[in-house]
């Protein structure tokens, strides 16, 4: 369906409400951090955000880990920890609380690890999802992969 947009302002509004899809695959701290920052800021800026966590990134979302266990890898990790940058899991939680954000775990990643949704950080995930469904949904918006 084609929707006529009558003014630049309306075009800007329509563009700004396209969902942002963030596909997080890397276990590296700096990429988890960037995903969390993008997700939180976009969500509170009235952009719907849809996060999909797969591959090695799923390890960072396991419940009951210390910061050193959760956040590993990437040259920037030590700097982020030393300077006490905002905690990535807390940023995802804030984005969900203050904006329109969902986070889904890759069903394949859970399957190969033998994990259940209960093995993930509590109250953060909206369930497990397959890649096909996620990519189909992502056709409606902008997809960023980290």
């Amino acid at each position: 369906m084609i929707i006529a947009l009558s003014s630049p302002a309306m075009k800007d509004h329509a563009m700004s409400t396209r969902p942002l899809f963030i596909l997080v695959c890397s276990h590296e701290h700096e990429k988890i951090q960037m995903a969390a920052m993008m997700a939180a800021v976009a969500a509170v800026s009235e952009t719907p955000v849809r996060v999909f966590v797969s591959m090695g990134a799923i390890y960072a979302f396991q419940k009951d880990l210390s910061d050193d266990e959760r956040y590993q890898g990437g040259r920037f990790s030590d700097v982020l920890k030393d300077k006490k940058a905002p905690d990535a899991m807390a940023l995802f939680e804030q984005g969900k609380t203050l904006g329109d954000m969902t986070i889904h775990a890759c069903s394949m990643a859970l399957d190969v690890l033998g994990w259940q949704e209960g093995d993930l950080v509590a109250d953060l995930f909206d369930g497990a999802l397959g890649l096909t469904k996620y990519l189909s949904d992502a056709e409606q918006g902008q997809l960023v992969t980290l």
Partner: protein
């Protein structure tokens, strides 16, 4: 009577000051001002950008030397 609240986010890194501002905006009344004190250089640019996007009102941005003062008025 509009009120002014201050968030001291000095020492917090991006996007901490912005997230604190947004959380506070949920709690105050329309017309109230919130001042964010921040040592994060990005805050002085990011907050006005966010305010313009979501429809609140910028009152001002001031360089205080060792930090920035950013004042936002809740408009909706």
């Amino acid at each position: 009577m509009p009120e002014k609240k201050t968030i001291d986010a000095r020492g917090a890194f991006c996007p901490g000051p912005l997230m604190e501002l947004i959380a506070m905006l949920k709690l105050v009344q329309i017309g109230d001002d919130i001042e964010v004190l921040s040592t994060d250089k990005g805050t002085a640019m990011d907050v006005p950008e966010w305010v313009a996007k979501v429809g609140h009102e910028m009152v001002g941005v001031e360089d205080k030397g060792d930090h920035w003062s950013v004042v936002v008025r809740k408009a909706k």
